[in-house]
Amino acid sequence: MAIFITILQRVFYAVMLLIAVLVLNFSMLHLAPGDIADTIAQASGGADAEVLEQIRKDYGLDQPFIVQLGQYIGKVLSFDLGHSFFYNQPVTSLIFEKVPATLLLVITAQIFALIVGVLLGVFSARNPNGLLSHFVTFTALFGYAAPVFWTGILLLITFSLNIQMFPSGGMVDVTVEGGFFTHAWDLFKHMVLPVFTLSTIFLALYSRLCRASMMEVLGSDFIRTAKAKGLSENQIVYKHALKNSLSPVVTLAGIQFSAVVSGAVLVEAVFSWPGLGSLALQSIIARDTPTILGILFFSALVVIVGNLITDMILRLIDPRVGSKG
């Protein structure tokens, strides 16, 4: 019962946070000079003050700021993100068209980074002076230092230009024909490079943190108890130590989730991945304010939901989280 109250509480805070983000985004864009009327007038080859006034009236831009803000929030709360001028489509449908591609990229990269990072961390913690351990330290350093777009371009040159193992961009190959598995394989091949690029930095973060927390946990008293019970090395490491050393990693993963989402923008640009990042880039160039606002709103939503999920996972891992005393 208590857990449901906590969840409700969290969801309430999340909604409040989202509204705050909305207000902030809207105000900041409002502060910027120029508005949609200018853009439209520009696109149609110039207009006089009267026409501009008319356009502003049509779009409700002549209203005071606070009224506009209220209207916008009201619209968003009824799941209407407005209308894109550049694409001439509702922003909501525009975003939902691109969301699956981005979510696929972001979630796969995050899961890949978590699993591989944790495994590398565990292996190297079991033998802190071994070859693998040094390899992990080195990779982590490299992962930290290398910018995402640079890694991406380097991988492109190596694996798609020189070795031609993977396609250079896009999400699917339209010339591919066949059943579900053929298409899945095609998608997989397109995903390998972008996912790897996006996950390198996080893989580095997670593996280092996991190595450190695993080493700390392996020295704790309850591990000695587990040994005194006669459990096998694997039971001790994977049952007793791993669950305890996961908490910091999951916490970090939750914090880094926003970084993964923003990293996706760069990766999508490098690999021409048809996701939200590409859409954001194009709409910024086109000064398509409603679309930009919509994307900002959606990213905030993704990050907040990501954090909410992290919180729930932490509770599952460690019963002490959220308990009193």
Partner: protein, 328 residues
Amino acid sequence: MAPLLKVENLRIELTTRDGIAPVIDDLSLELNAGETLSFVGESGCGKSMTALAIMGLLPEKVGRIASGTIMFGGEDLSKASDARLREIRGNDISMIFQEPMTSLNPVYTIGEQISEVLRRHQNLGKTAAWSKAIELLDAVRIPNPNGRISDYPHQMSGGQRQRVMIAIALACQPKILIADEPTTALDVTVQAQIFDLLRDLGRETGTATILITHDMGAVAEMAERMIVMYAGRKAEDGPVDQIIEHPRHPYTKGLISCVPHLVATLTDERPELTEVRGIVPSLRDFGRDTCLFASRCNLADDKCRSKRPPEVHFKGQQNSACWHAEQL
């Protein structure tokens, strides 16, 4: 009757920054079925090291058994394989530790942690192990075992956690229970309860207990025989009553006079409370061929400082490693 556990000439070496140090030097002991034997001595005297060596849990890469044998049921544990030691640990020989607050895994329920050892050694299924765990929780006198079984360690007090540790240790009815300062971290009223519990359960199951402590009062109450250890060596051993009555080693004498109620009843005028002055020598000096207690001993003479004292045997199976044992 052959002893349950027989340790002979055990030498444990620890690799330190200053080189190899013998933390346990030429230690022999016997433990009979069902009896309680106590290891006494200050911190750093090798009590815990001996226990860990018996368990096969010496710190990896740092400590090793250099020589000697640990015979248990016709088997030399000092040469047993890791797999064999894992079979013995928790099943035939089990151990409880000093810090109940941190000795249980915080992310599993105590039911899981108790039944785990039953599943490992007794081939019990999940449900059978779980209901046995409830019985054990009841046996260690935790009220409402059916409800508490699903609790996590952080929901229990220190005393309760130590009871859970005892339940885990006794789950497979081991032949030997090693209790390494089981009450040091607990407050005094709880200490007495834990000792009562250990004594009662030990009697019920016929488990032999090795009680490691520096609490002479606990020794007098709990143990039949005791081994006084000093700087990795056996200073004195024998029946508890006899040693308290007439210690044959100045170190034992010092330890006993640190505890007022052992030497006088409450109505008597209290003798002055004494201390054993000085500290245990550093690990570096452990290997020396002298009496290691000489630097703190009132009786020390040139002989003590130049040659390690041999063990002197007294009647009633009391032994003392002191050049002046006869005069004490």
